[in-house]
């Protein structure tokens, strides 16, 4: 449980479609500790109602429902309603027929019953990770923008240039004059920044016009 950070799940709402009341009840009671909100439903009609009215981040659906099929529900959601929601299906069968249908519907994951709760949480995490990362990036970007607003914006521009122009080995192949041309800053500012970074071991000069950017030396920011 420690590999992935399940606390991240707490920001998401889940639609859970399962026709069997007992399983629905118990799984819901477990999941509700981890997620922001869980909508347990037993039929496709209820599920459609929820999806239209609530903001849902991920769908968990049983394939084999009484007189209907969870994949049919997903088809309606993805094709007819044109809503892009990550989905996980659960089923007692390992039938390839279902599997093929599921792949076609771009189902994100597939869990064989009986459900292992850790596996389910892992899957949820994996499925939601892009969303989480997207949020993270947005947040970081906002931080940088905020920092640049309150500090020397020239220095921020140079740092942005450096990070942007690193090659695959984290090497920067530019001379001061070249940087000055590209970023439009004065030479003393560049020299001052390079010295600062060099002192902290973040940007080491290997030879002329060759600097190594060492990520590990970056100070770890506090989580927001």
């Amino acid at each position: 449980m420690n590999k992935r950070n399940f606390e991240l799940l707490g920001a998401f709402s889940i639609l859970y479609l399962e026709d069997e009341a007992d399983l629905l009840k118990h799984t819901t009671s477990v999941l509700e500790d981890f997620v922001k909100k869980i909508y347990p439903v037993q039929t496709i009609d209820e599920a459609l109602q929820i999806i239209k009215t609530e903001k849902i981040d991920v769908i968990i659906s049983d394939i084999h429902l009484k007189y209907s099929n969870g994949l049919d529900f997903l088809r309606v959601v993805k094709n007819d309603l044109d809503i892009e929601i990550p989905s996980i299906v659960t089923t007692a069968f390992t039938d390839t027929e279902y599997l093929l249908d599921a792949i076609k519907l771009k189902v994100d994951n597939y869990i064989i019953k009986p459900v292992n709760i850790k596996e389910l949480l892992n899957n949820l995490h994996d499925v939601l990770l892009p969303k989480i990362q997207q949020k993270e990036i947005e947040r970081s970007y906002n931080i940088i923008k905020t920092i640049s607003a309150v500090t020397d914006s020239k220095q921020v521009d140079i740092i942005r240039f450096i990070v942007k122009n690193l090659d695959s080995d984290n090497i920067l192949n530019y001379s001061y004059s070249e940087i000055m041309e590209q970023v439009d800053v004065s030479k003393p500012t560049v020299i001052k920044l390079f010295k600062q970074l060099g002192d902290q071991g973040i940007l080491l000069k290997i030879q002329n016009k060759k600097y190594l950017f060492n990520e590990n030396k970056l100070p770890i920011p506090e989580r927001i």
Partner: protein, 543 residues
């Protein structure tokens, strides 16, 4: 007897049809021979009779007349002339007449003696004479001819003397007359004597002829008797062999029949034992078959158990995991534990019940009792629920009032499972079909309970409807169908419930707008059949 045996042996070798032909030939030829011989004899006798009459009787008459004429007419007239009691003209006339008559008679005599009898009788006589054993009679013709010659000459001399006398008479020379008359009378007397002797000769010949005649008759009689005897003998001989033939045939047939009967009896005995063996074999086969069927349905049931367990098992696992997750979240408190334990107990109780259901189904208690139809149908539906859901088949039960039945509960479940299973099998092949439906309708009249199982799988082909209850009859692939499900169902319904199970194609709406081609199986169970358990237990153990 040796010859007889020889002939018999020869005859034995002849074919039966030839024997009858021989018999007919003998009879015909014998009859013809006898007839021929009889005709010949009759004609021969006729010839003899004719000869006797013409050559001996008639001549005698002629001779007697000649003799009379000579004695009466000529001699008497001569006496009258001598005594002169008659006129000379009358005398001449009388004598002349007498001369003419005698001449004529004599001619007749000679003619009749010398003429032979011709025609058929002659040939018959000649032919028959060939067979006569006795020597022919000696001819006395020479003596006879001698006398005839003498009579001839005497008559001629009398004629000449009479003529001379007549001449004298015309001239009336009485003195010359007397010696001539005396002479003529003398001659006439001697002629008479000759005639008499000739008559005697003829008489004697008649007697000898009679003798010959007798012998002829005897001979032909003997010959006929001999012939008849001979024919009789041959006929008897052939008949005897024919009868023998029949006897042999009869014996042969009797022997044949006897041996065939023995063979048949033997065959019959062996057949009886073979039938016994075969019956035992088929019994064994049936038992094996029932075992197979049981195993097959056991397999199906096992799938059902697996499914019915899977769901509560999933829930149970979830409950167990929820303890961990709640503990880690720090939310594991007394009310949560209490509620989860209660849930888990309920779930495991359900699982245990399911298991018990199947266990009792496969270990049936072997006694009949009263049970409710609805319960039974519901159980059958529950047991096949998983299969029906898998094939997305909609099963509905229609029942106005609950009905009671007396019998083996598990058997009725088994039968219903079979019917539902069959419907499911056919419906599962119709994947393109809209709604797959099975409908069970239970109803009753005053005497019978009816349970109809209807599916809209399109019906059964009419040519196989009569065969669906036959053992080992299946339309499914060999690996799927054993062909004994319906056979077993029929056995159970008929033998243990004393009811009937039938099947037909119908068209039914099944509650929807369209008509479907449906198959309907009907189980009829008589209500008032109160049966004891005696004698049924053995049959029951087979299933």
């Amino acid at each position: 007897m040796k010859i007889f045996d020889l002939i018999n042996q020869k005859l034995e070798t002849i074919k039966f049809s030839n024997k009858t032909k021989l018999l007919i030939f003998i009879i015909l030829s014998g009859t013809m021979t006898i007839g021929f011989l009889m005709f010949v004899s009759i004609f021969a006798l006729k010839y003899d009779y004719e000869t006797l009459f013409q050559k001996h009787t008639q001549p005698q008459v002629e001779l007697e007349e000649i003799k009379d004429i000579y004695r009466v007419n000529i001699t008497e007239t001569l006496h009258d002339i001598k005594d002169e009691q008659i006129t000379s003209s009358d005398a001449i006339e009388v004598i002349f007449l007498a001369q003419q008559i005698t001449a004529k008679q004599w001619e007749n005599y000679k003619k009749s003696v010398n003429t032979d009898i011709g025609g058929l009788p002659y040939f018959a006589s000649k032919w028959l004479n060939l067979f006569l054993v006795s020597p022919a009679l000696p001819e006395k013709n020479i003596f006879q001819q001698g006398i005839v010659e003498k009579i001839n000459t005497k008559m001629r001399s009398i004629d000449t003397q009479t003529n001379a006398l007549l001449e004298i008479l015309k001239e009336n020379k009485k003195q010359q007359m007397t010696p001539i008359i005396d002479n003529i009378m003398l001659e006439a007397n001697s002629l008479n004597i000759y005639l008499s002797s000739l008559i005697t000769i003829h008489l004697k010949q008649s007697i000898t002829e009679k003798g010959i005649n007798d012998r002829l008759f005897r001979t032909s009689t003997y010959m006929l008797i001999l012939l008849i005897g001979l024919i009789f003998f041959f006929i008897s001989l052939v008949l005897f062999t024919i009868i023998n033939h029949f006897k042999n045939l009869h014996n042969y047939l009797e022997e044949n029949v006897l041996s065939k009967t023995q063979e048949l009896r033997f065959l019959n005995n062996s057949l009886e034992s073979r039938i016994k063996k075969e019956v035992e074999n088929s019994r064994k086969k049936d038992n094996i078959m029932f075992q197979q069927a049981r195993l097959a349905s056991l397999g199906e049931m096992l799938q059902n158990i697996a499914h019915q367990w899977r769901q509560p098992l999933g829930s149970l696992m979830m409950i167990i995991q929820s303890f961990e997750s709640k503990f880690m979240a720090g939310k594991l408190d007394a009310p949560f534990i209490t509620s989860r334990v209660a849930d888990a107990q309920l779930l495991s109780q359900n699982m245990s019940d399911t298991l018990e259901d199947f266990r009792t189904f496969f270990n049936p208690n072997k006694s009949k009792k009263t049970f409710l139809i609805k319960e039974v149908i519901q159980k059958a539906i529950d047991l096949s629920k998983y299969q029906l859901e898998k094939e997305e088949i909609n099963l509905s039960l229609f029942m106005k009032e609950d009905l009671e039945v007396f019998g083996f509960k598990n058997e009725l479940i088994h039968v219903l499972l079979n019917l539902i299973g069959n419907s499911k099998d056919i419906l599962s092949t119709k994947s393109e079909m809209g709604e797959k439906m099975i409908r069970i309708i239970a109803k009753q009249d005053s005497q019978t309970i009816f349970i109809n199982v209807i599916d809209n799988g399109g019906g059964i082909k009419s040519d196989i409807i009569p065969k669906v209850f036959d053992p080992y009859f299946t339309t499914k692939h060999k690996s799927v169908g054993t062909g004994i499900g319906l056979y077993m169902s029929k056995q159970m319904v008929e033998k243990h419930m004393h009811g009937r199970i039938t099947c037909k194609n119908i068209r039914h709406k099944l509650g929807s707008a369209n008509f479907y081609a449906c198959t309907m199986f009907t189980i009829e169970i008589p209500k008032n059949y109160i049966n004891t358990n005696e004698g049924e237990d053995n049959e029951q153990t087979q299933f």
